[in-house]
Symmetry: C2
Subunit: 251 residues, 2 copies
DNA sequence: CGCTATTTTGACCAAGTTCAACCACGGTGG
DNA sequence: CCACCGTGGTTGAACTTGGTCAAAATAGCG
């Protein structure tokens, strides 16, 4: 019997959150942990390709990624798509919608993904009683802004080859920090169409660009995914300093 | 005798803040106003072209624009520049740096600009005692994120003509909301080099693109600036819905 | 095995870049 | 008053990057 596509019942208690154990994420104080545990109303597990949030909708929930990959994107009327960023474990989804009503971007699952679902109505309580968590929320929003800044620089001013190198090095480093590469296999689960829509290029040109990176032994394109062979090399090609982050907050 | 280039003494008390009077910005509660008034340590007035914050520096202050225009940008090692966003009255500058230490972008004055200077060390007090202001800070960060999302879509997926139309319509609408067009004159104080660095285009192609917009009677390029003749037309050309915002917070 | 999604390749085309002038305008100094 | 200079804007020609079209190769998957 097949598993249902989505489940909504509570599964991982925050007290045993596997992300909290990672060195990359900051610790909670006991009272914060208790609040967050209460803030969380359940989990949502969806398959790859499922749309989690839709641009223009108002019923925004607030989520944190517990496991898996997703991406944020916007579309123009004629179907042109721009991927804005990728979501990995520990990332918050739907803050914009929770604060300001209508979503102005969509979110889709890139792999099977599990999300912690939070009750947006309790955000007020959070701001009133947990200033450190409130600070963390602002921090998270500002961090996302930084990532977008770098993306904008990339798309606006880097060549196709530099852009691709930057994107892959960036995803690699972020995924590594979120402990997404448990085994020896270091693979990013995206198609070349995703890469194209992230970089603002056509698929054909993206393919040719990735091939060049492959010829230089920086990456290997696997089926529906990309193995990073030399992230130092990618960073050098992109002229990118890398992504330094000691410990970051999450909710 | 010429006025000094920068002054640091307190001039406009928050109680008489001209921005608070605008319908576009939200009201403060009395205790918030008192706190903010105390949070503000002075004003900084600089000439056009002055660099206000530098990428890589750590001495980040926190500012709000009181009057004038500025812009945020990043540069690559070889001098390629990408403008990320423009700052106008009511906009917060330096939040990223205040929360996370090192600035990862620079800010420059586009016109003579006056800034309210805040004491970044008091941010903790703000979060502990003024949850509504803390919420506003997150809101502001999330709003900036939205703007960057739309920018990314623009640069990644719109044609040069669409991009230019979007940028100018966007700046026009934001500036109008911040009451920057007091007189009859509706002019955005940027050079074509700024437009090029915002859109990710060369200056030559930018010039030709703007000329097309001029031929269609959507804009008129004045000396060191741009007059918007038909913002509806620009929005239509960009396929952009516009920028709906009732009332926004500011600090 | 047949189906669909994805990747790959080649030929041709178009948008945008680079190079190289040239113009307009507002100082500034002689 | 005028020559000179610097900034910003304008223009055309040659060139390059990346886009479009079309078709084939490849890889899961039921």
């Amino acid at each position: 019997m097949a598993a249902p596509k989505t489940r909504n019942n509570r599964q991982t208690p925050c007290e045993q959150c596997p992300l909290r154990a990672l060195p990359h994420f900051r610790e909670f104080k006991p009272d914060e942990l208790e609040f967050v545990s209460n803030f969380k109303t359940g989990e949502l597990a969806v398959d790859a390709g499922t749309t989690i949030l839709v641009e223009g909708s108002n019923s925004a929930h607030l989520f944190t990624v517990l496991s898996g990959w997703g991406f944020r994107y916007k579309m123009l009327d004629d179907g042109r798509r721009q991927i804005l960023n990728y979501m990995m474990p520990g990332d918050l989804i739907g803050l914009q919608g929770s604060l300001m009503g209508e979503m102005q971007h969509s979110v889709e699952a890139l792999s099977p993904i599990t999300l912690c679902v939070f009750e947006r109505d309790k955000l007020g309580v959070l701001y009133r009683n947990y200033p450190d968590l409130a600070y963390d929320l602002t921090w998270i929003a500002a961090q996302e802004e930084r990532i977008l800044d770098e993306n904008l620089l990339s798309i606006g001013r880097r060549s196709a080859l530099e852009r691709a190198a930057y994107l892959l090095a960036f995803l690699y480093q972020r995924a590594k920090a979120s402990n997404l590469f448990k085994g020896a296999r270091v693979s990013i689960p995206i198609t070349q169409q995703h890469v194209a829509d992230t970089l603002g290029l056509s698929i054909v040109h993206t393919n040719k660009t990735l091939k060049k990176l492959g010829e230089r032994k920086l990456i290997r394109w696997a089926d529906r995914g990309c193995d990073i062979l030399d992230d130092e090399g990618l960073m050098k090609m992109a002229g990118w300093e890398g992504y330094h982050e000691k410990s970051r907050p999450f909710i």
